[in-house]
Amino acid sequence: MGRKLIFGLFAMVLVASMVVVSGQALAAEKKKEPPKQYIPLFAYRTGPFQAGGSGQAGGNEDWYTLVNIKGGLNGVMIEFEECETGYNTARGVECYERVKSKNPVHIQPWSTAVAYALIERATKDKIPLSTIGYGRADASDGTVFKYVFPLVTNYWSLSTAKIRYIAQVEGGLEKLKGLKIANLHLDHPYGRETRFILEIMAKKFGFEVKHFPVPWPGIDQKSIFLNIRRFKPDWIINRNWGVSCTVPIREAARIGFPRDRMLAVWWCGSEEDVMPAGPAAKGYLATSFHGVGKDFPVIQEILEKVHHTGKGNISYGRVGSALYNKGIIQGILTTEAILTAQKKFGNRPITGEEMQYGLENLNITKERIKELGAEGLMPPVKTSCRNHEGFDLMLVQQWDGNKWVQVSGWIEPFKDLVRAEIEKSAGKYAKEKGITPRKCE
């Protein structure tokens, strides 16, 4: 009897949910509203990296909400929708297929693995793939990767910029000679990706780089730090992720390695990474591609118009955190690209193919940034058919025990060196895939 009851209830719930789903589908077709600009968000609020996924999604959504409050993009309202990937590639691909029919303006997978899986599909479907700050580094070559935009920066550029920053602190590029740098990286495709570019730099400037792979998930790194202590590095590059970002800070404190000689990749430079380390994190350095804190007019405006009216998409305390600010920049880049495309194609919702034009002809000048209220939050961006990266400057931020403080100006990577590697790698990809690189200009 009890079992029958349970099954009956279960069947009823199932049927009810199906009715709801189909009812919603029908209702959606009946609705007649002015067309909206549909932007999907591949967030991940579950899984091991949910801190990263939710922070960026929150920033993005807050920005779009603000744009809508201010009247949309030339009257076109933004409709954003989350699709949960849980940082799982298969779910990411499922999300892509789900949103594809809704004419997404671009796809931001927030996961390097999902980005890799989508490159070919998105190119075929003519939907741009914006991988802002991550993803396939050699996709910066627009002649081969027409629909992929690793805007802002990529891992290779970032790594060379790290070396330039180290040189700045040490007092010049010639001082790099003889330095010992430990590259502490997750033993994972993402972590290993920058090994070769650091080796090239080491050969060029005469410093010594030694790689210390951290086995996944990197909760225990005691033995690695034993080896690091033996190596006696001058600098440690922290290229981890999630919980494995925090562990090295504590371990460094234990062996007495100065935290202000630890330079982290931007994934390891969020509040969520340093807070758990407590006072040990004081002085810890991290790279980023945006200003820190919430003292920017644009964020103040969001606080006032979005959060104070109860429309916020993230808890109030996380506004202005590192990942949140990344979300804001990603949002700004998206809407600016849509505006660029609108200039050419008219003030209406933009298709993916038109967005490709928008992303490729992005030109966010200093004046425009000031107008947006994002001065200091982001540097100017200018993309072209050949260069899909736009800008590749980076900032260094330091944890003062309570908050991030910006400690450097915009630092340039070794552009020519990175560009040569990008073209080499993209050329190899084109050859494998039988792509003829398109002509630019």
Binding site: R3, I6, F7, F10, S17, V20, V21, Q24, A43, R45, T46, S54, A57, E81, E82, E84, T89, A90, R91, V93, E94, E97, R98, K100, S101, T112, A113, Y116, A117, I119, E120, R121, R136, A137, D187, H188, P189, Y190, R192, E193, F196, W216, N313, S425, Y429, E432, K433
Partner: protein, 353 residues
Amino acid sequence: MLYRECGVFKSTYAEDMAIFPLPLDKWGMGILLIVAFLVIPMTADRYLLTSIMIPFLIYSLSTLGLNILTGYSGQLSLGHAAFMAVGAYTAFNLSARLDLPILLCFLGGGLMSAAIGSLFGIPSVRIKGFYLIVATLAAQFTIEWVITHWAWVSGENVLGAIDTPPMEILGRSIDTPVEKYLLTLVVVIVLTIFAKNLVRGKIGRAWMSIRDKAVASEIIGVSQFRYKLLAFSVSSFYAGVAGALIAFCHLGCVQVTEFELLLSFWILGMVIIGGMGSILGSFLGAGFMVLLPIYINRVVRMMAGVVPSDILTNLELMIFGGLIIFFLIVEPYGLARLWLIIKGKLRLWPIPY
């Protein structure tokens, strides 16, 4: 009444040995195949094919492999995802470097995986249960490590990702979702029939005897070494082919992180939820674990705007977890057993006595 078993007389050995002796089952399967081969390709949209049907079929195949090992032979394994990775990377190398026909690549991926699987199956001769889990866990970590560190296997890609070359069968390129779906379907059906025949023949009976009482089966002359390793190699073969299908027909570009330990647990979960020692159970279990989260996600999304999105997304996990517990309490022997019970009821329905 609906499901009649009486009145079916078997007059030849062939009829007696048929997979589906009942006309009703035969017709049902025929209709299912017509739906799978004709109706779905003609009516389904791209989303249904690429995100629902293809992963469902591939994970069913992989689950079937583990079911042979765990359900039929009673050997626990947590290295299944790694064997899938071996299949994927081998098939990629065969296709990209040697330019072999795609079906041969799948076969090669399966065979390579079978070879490595039987290597890691050797400890099973001496140990069983939890101890064997630990030994197969070693397979998971070793294989992941080798693929990450040996750049050659991933074609020297910086990220260790394999980007599959275009597929072709007899000069015809397999490119659209429908073609990929049909290719997956054919591979899965062929291997399912093979598995069905394997488990109801001599080998299957030997496996089941090992599962039920290893000592007794050894006494009656079943070689533990041979049959346990055979179970490992067949199981890994299925995993390898499934891995190759994921790389070529589903994702198109995979990293080794795709095949991490978590996936091994998931596939073990599919076996348990679907039903140990059941071919049908493999499909039901894969359907449950692959499709239900997507379905719940879509239902839960309806509440977007009302419920904050962070609660919304975690709701999916909560409901899914609750359902797993629910099904295991209601039917500890898996969904396949549930199907047996339904069949039993239909035998008498609508006039039960």
